[in-house]
């Protein structure tokens, strides 16, 4: 089976603080993955390391069988709502057009083909009638759909979403989950940082993190009491903390 994401021995640290220690796992293509773990477990760090945005101390991340090459546009990132400046002067169309950036790069500009892809992506996400709206004038669910449309315009085969359900109501959450089911049916892989453990049954795969990898695998066999305790219980993060204290030099 093709691997969407292959992480080998990944270690990342900020300054002297190790955030992710020796993480190894695979995600097969065409599944939906929920990435869970307490705050500071290294979920966003893992995603950013996969994108090559932060330096890693060691380890490799392969995307669809090869080191990540951004110019292929296969991997789409959908940011957390809070980090977006919703006053930025862009319309729905402008945001979705950004997805074509991998095609035109630094010196090109979007052409007819790009515009067609943008229209198509908007239609698929049911956003056609909002094309010329400013992003501020959208509901929370519509804002999410704009970013999913951008990922589609990009032609992404893997969608990475950082907490897409933060601050949206239940109906919107369901609508997004339905849209995601459709994308997965087309063979796309969906990787989502997610805090809501009640909707885990909507995913086929889970990655459990707490400073290191606790478990990764199909939901049914992986999400069990023991892994839950290891992920959210204090035990392991205490060990990591103790190690950090030791690393700083207790024995002075």
């Amino acid at each position: 089976m093709e691997k969407a994401l292959e992480v080998r021995n990944l270690t990342v640290s900020y300054g002297s603080k190790i955030v992710l220690r020796n993480v190894t796992f695979n995600i097969p293509a065409g599944v939906s993955v929920s990435m869970v773990g307490p705050n500071g477990a290294g979920k966003s760090t893992l995603l950013k390391a996969a994108l090559g945005l932060i330096e890693r101390d060691s380890g490799e991340v392969d995307v669809l069988g090869a080191p990540f090459n951004p110019r292929q546009g296969v991997l789409a990132y959908i940011p957390q709502k809070e980090i977006i400046d919703w006053d930025f002067p862009v319309t729905v169309r402008d945001v979705v057009t950004m997805g074509r950036g991998a095609r035109h790069g630094w010196l090109g500009r979007p052409g007819r083909k790009d515009r067609a892809a943008v229209e198509q992506a908007l239609e698929k996400c049911g956003m056609t009638e909002y094309t010329d709206r400013h992003i501020r004038q959208l509901s929370g669910g519509q804002q999410q759909r704009v970013f999913i449309a951008r990922a589609l315009a990009q032609g992404a085969r893997i969608l990475i979403m950082d907490e897409p359900f933060a601050g949206v109501d239940a109906a919107t959450e369901n609508a997004i989950l339905d849209l995601m089911d459709g994308l997965r049916a087309e063979g796309r892989t969906l990787i989502m940082v997610n805090h809501d453990l009640d909707i885990l049954d909507r995913f086929d795969w889970i990655v459990m993190l707490n400073g290191t990898l606790i478990a990764a695998g199909p939901m049914a066999e992986t999400y069990n009491e023991k892994n839950r305790r290891l992920t959210f219980g204090p035990t392991l993060s205490e060990i990591v903390r103790a190690e950090q204290i030791i690393a700083k030099g207790v024995a002075r």
């Binding site: 546009g73 862009v90 402008d94 950036g101």
Partner: protein, 420 residues
């Protein structure tokens, strides 16, 4: 003033054109400076080019090429130094910026005082701008640099917009946000260098921020914002140039005042984000709500008749307000004036009040379903009912309920409302 215009146009065509083109470049790059929150960096760059300019002057004498190279070198050194301090210490960005540029500026000032006696270095021109004192070759440098900056922004519009809006996503499609940062920095430094002798070190940052910030008040599209800012920048430097010539003011402050004036005007009068527009909307809303409350109050009175005093009591509005609103409602045919300050609901007003009540009760039903505190139902619905366009949407969403959570009948659009 007309004479000043004529003199400037005839006698100082190149000076005027160079200044205006510099204004265009300031406006264009300024949009990205405003959106990326780099105004302080702009200020730092403008001050810290001084030592570069002076060293270039010492080594190679006056001339556009050495000046450009010197200024760019110290500008880029500043930005690298700021980043280094930020990344390698616990000092935050604004402190790092404030520290670096003042030290650079101080070095520049000391260097000037160390120039050999009798050397002509016009510090005031650099501080406050004086395009009339600029040599031909320097003017051409300004024209070329400004044109290159504008062209670069147009060419790199899409990647710069993506990297400014969502840097992480930009990285995921191969537009490195760090590269974008340095592109903006270099364009900004070039703009600052080109503007130095027209606008001056102290005022350059105003010419960079003001046009972008002004344009931002008028539009929701980056493309439009760039064009507008370009126009505003060009106009401000042009008009500032002529006024400074006419009144014998330093040119930088004159240009800044024009740009600042335009900004204040926009903040007040922009139709979408202006203070006046917002206040007007608020006032209209308040009036709209008061009128509807008055209608409802009248609908509850026996025989739909009441005096202004009674209406004032039941709505909590002042009597004067009731009289004014009553006049407006009468003009719309929603109430009839009976004389002696008494009003009666007309047939049209009755229908309208009936619609309001329907919306109110539908809102209460919807809010009730969301599990909101029952005590909050009425006050919330009292506000929300004024959005009556939504009545039918609510009705179908709720499955056309017959009664509201208090058990009162919800009027149908065609029927009459009964018990209250």
């Amino acid at each position: 003033m007309i004479e000043a215009f004529a003199t400037v146009f005839d006698g100082y065509t190149l000076e005027l054109a160079a200044s205006m083109l510099v204004g265009t470049a300031c406006g264009v790059i300024g949009c990205f400076v405003v959106l990326r929150g780099m105004a302080l960096v702009g200020d730092a760059l403008s001050h810290s080019v001084l030592p570069g300019v002076v060293v270039a002057f010492m080594l190679a004498g006056a001339g556009p090429v050495p000046m450009f190279i010197g200024a760019m070198t110290s500008g880029i050194a500043t930005s690298v130094l700021i980043n280094t301090i930020q990344n390698n210490s616990r000092i935050k960005g604004d402190s790092a910026i404030g520290l670096v540029f003042t030290v650079f500026f101080a070095v520049g000032v000391i260097l000037i005082s160390a120039l050999p006696r009798g050397t002509h270095f016009d510090l005031k021109c650099f501080l406050f701008g004086n395009p009339l004192a600029v040599g031909q070759s320097d003017l051409w440098m300004m024209v070329i640099v400004a044109a290159v900056v504008c062209a670069a922004v147009v060419l790199l519009f899409h990647p710069l917009r993506t990297a400014s809006f969502d840097p992480v996503m930009a990285a995921s499609v191969g537009i490195n946000p760090k590269v974008a940062h340095y592109v903006v920095m270099i364009l900004l430094a070039a703009t600052v260098v080109a503007s130095l002798q027209a606008v001056g070190i102290i005022m350059v940052v105003a010419m960079i921020i003001a046009p972008g910030a002004t344009a931002y008040q008028w539009t929701d599209r980056l493309g439009t914002m760039l064009w507008l800012a370009a126009l505003i920048g060009t106009f401000s430097t042009g008009l500032g140039f002529v006024v400074s010539f006419w009144q014998n003011w330093p040119s930088g402050p004159a240009m800044t005042l024009v740009a600042g004036g335009l900004f204040i005007f926009s903040m007040l009068f922009s139709p979408s984000y202006g203070i006046v527009a917002a206040a007007t909307t608020r006032r209209r809303n308040k009036q709209h709500i008061a009128r509807e409350d008055l209608l409802k109050a009248l609908a509850r009175m026996p025989d739909h008749v009441a005096s202004d005093k009674q209406l004032a009591e039941s709505t909590g509005l002042s009597r004067k307000r009731v009289v004014a609103l009553g006049g407006k409602l009468a003009a719309k045919g929603l109430v009839d004036k009976l004389g002696d300050g008494r009003y009666r609901l007309s047939a049209a007003g009755d229908e309208f009040a009936h619609g309001l009540l329907r919306t109110h009760r539908l809102w209460e039903s919807l809010l009730h379903e969301t599990g909101i505190d029952p005590a909050q139902l009425h006050p919330l619905a009292e506000r929300l009912e004024h959005a009556h366009e939504l009545a039918d949407v609510l009705d179908s969403r709720l499955g056309s309920p017959e009664r509201d959570p208090h058990g009162r009948k919800i009027p149908r659009p065609e029927g009459k409302y009964a018990d209250d």
